[in-house]
């Protein structure tokens, strides 16, 4: 994906490595970009590097090489110091709703922290109740503690806190995978709606392609640290070009009641999934 000057976020040739007993290259030369008001989905199996990429975008992960820039400026690494105020317009929603909220602080006060971040950047103020309403929770919840809420409610509060900071770019790392099936689609849809209402870009990371199809303008498919396919979501969904994308899509069981087993790959991780296929990139 070619980076253009009006991109909100552009990631260029990003490489992330973890040094343990051996060096693991989690992200291996990934480039992508997000424009304002765009929802980009990042999909792939667990361990494909999508979470590492998300963490690098907000500055939680130090790239081995390559760059992450937001509005043309390099995103600073989240060190021990206070994050520069300008970059609080990048917010993140985490996967596990249980650890997303401080257990000792009331919900309202946590959303207020988001509002403060917006004020510190000179953005308009707001009230925690407004945000609760926007994420579909009763306003009376301001005085609750996290342990009094269900997982789905916690995740909505975490989304409210992130949005209260009035971000330009919202990064969501598997925000719905810990939720009940019946609320997954609605929360994902709500995130899209709220992000776009605010004119923000949304980087939505998920392994659930059915949801991604519902909310993403563009989709990036990652496999073992590399992008194997990318482009307009509908296009990828209807006519997957890369063998891995094809396997991924055909493995999704359709809830149609017909009792058809999804196609299983002949082998675990066949070599062709790793093949580079230029025609599968930047599909329109």
């Amino acid at each position: 994906m070619s980076a253009s000057s009006n991109d909100l976020l552009s990631v260029t040739d990003l490489v992330i490595e973890y040094h343990g007993a051996s060096v693991v290259r989690a992200v291996d030369g990934v480039s992508l970009s997000i424009a304002p008001g765009e929802v980009l989905a990042l999909v792939g199996e667990s361990g494909c590097g999508k979470s590492s990429l998300a963490r690098a975008v907000v500055g939680m992960e130090k790239p081995r090489s390559g760059s992450v820039s937001y509005r043309g400026q390099a995103v600073p690494l989240l060190g021990v110091r206070r994050r520069p105020t300008a970059f609080t317009s990048i917010q993140m929603v985490f996967q596990d709703p249980n650890s997303s909220l401080n257990p000792r602080i009331r919900v309202g006060a946590q959303i207020t922290e988001g509002i403060r971040a917006a004020l510190a950047r000179g953005e308009a103020g707001s009230k925690p109740e407004e945000w609760l309403e926007r994420v579909g929770l009763p306003t009376a919840m301001v005085s609750r503690y996290a342990h009094e809420l269900s997982g789905g409610q916690r995740q909505r509060v975490a989304i409210a806190r992130a949005l209260a900071a009035r971000p330009d770019l919202l990064v969501a790392d598997e925000p719905i995978s810990a939720l009940d099936a019946s609320s997954q689609a609605s929360v994902a849809d709500m995130m899209r709606r709220l992000a776009l209402d605010a004119g923000a870009g949304l980087l939505f990371i998920s392994h659930d392609l059915a949801i991604v199809r519902l909310i993403a303008d563009r989709t990036v498919v990652m496999y073992r640290g590399q992008i194997v396919e990318s482009g307009v979501s509908e296009r990828i969904w209807e006519d997957p070009a890369h063998p891995y994308t094809r396997a991924l899509l055909s493995a999704i069981p359709a809830p149609d009641g017909r009792g058809i087993l999804p196609a299983a790959p002949a082998a675990e991780a066949p070599a062709e999934w790793r093949s580079a296929l230029p025609a599968a990139l930047d599909r329109v």
Binding site: V58, M60, L78, V80, R81, R82, R83, P84, T85, T88, I90, Q91, M92, F94, D96, S99, S100, L101, N102, P103, R104, I105, R106, Q110, E113, G114, R116, A117, A120, H147, A158, R161, A162, A165
Partner: protein, 283 residues
Amino acid sequence: MTRRWLRIPSAWVTPLGVIGAVIAAFWIVVAFTAQFWVPFDPLAQVLPRLQAPGIDTIMGTDALGRDIFSRLMTGAGVTIPLALMLVVMSMVVGTLIGAIAGYFGKWVDEVLMRLTDLVMAFPTVILAMVVAAALGPSLFNAVIAAFVVSWPQYARMTRSIVLGLRTQNYVMAGRLLGFSPFKTLRVDVAPNVVGPILVLASLDVGTAILLLSGLSFLGLGAQPPTAEWGSMISAAMANFDSWWIGVFPGLAILTVVMAFNFVGDSLRDIFDPTSQMSKARAR
């Protein structure tokens, strides 16, 4: 907020915890009021020597004709406040150092943790002897010697909790909202450290009393004629057949140390995230 999660539902408190709290409270009250109501001046050598417990002197008198009961009660006021002071000092300094090491990590952590390792390697009694030799033996110097070796346990515990919290999503979320390091420590870290540290501290009060009495027993702490439990037991060694001189201070140390340990144990049950009670609270 703090009051809310510190509340202790009645069904959870173990009987031993209640007994411990009552005894500990009794001794603390005694420590601060004994000087006003004891029957005799603890230092006055006015009574018959080595008198067995009786009606006038319920715990008998020592070899210098001083009332043991009066000395015992005022002795509480010597050891317990100093032990509490020692624990509070160790807690504050240790927690601060541990929080800094855990939060800032890298070389800061490395330097501070090696320092705690170094300090922990000192044998307490030998260190107290060194301090006594350098500054002269006194109970306050014994407290300084004990302090030097007792803060590292707080530092280590705080550091490990902070290290675990550092990667919690809500801590990261706060940092992404632009929290300063101080605000992160105050808002997201400190409330989670308070519980375990209080448990450690309450268990440590008993240890501190034993340590200070022990140093006084060895002559490295309180000096004669101060009425201090350790030195009272030490004095009893010279009059072995007058059992009351040593037994009552010994019982005093025993009850106060056990009381604080019971309190600490039940606090631990309350704060332990794996215990039934905390689960009920988290729900």
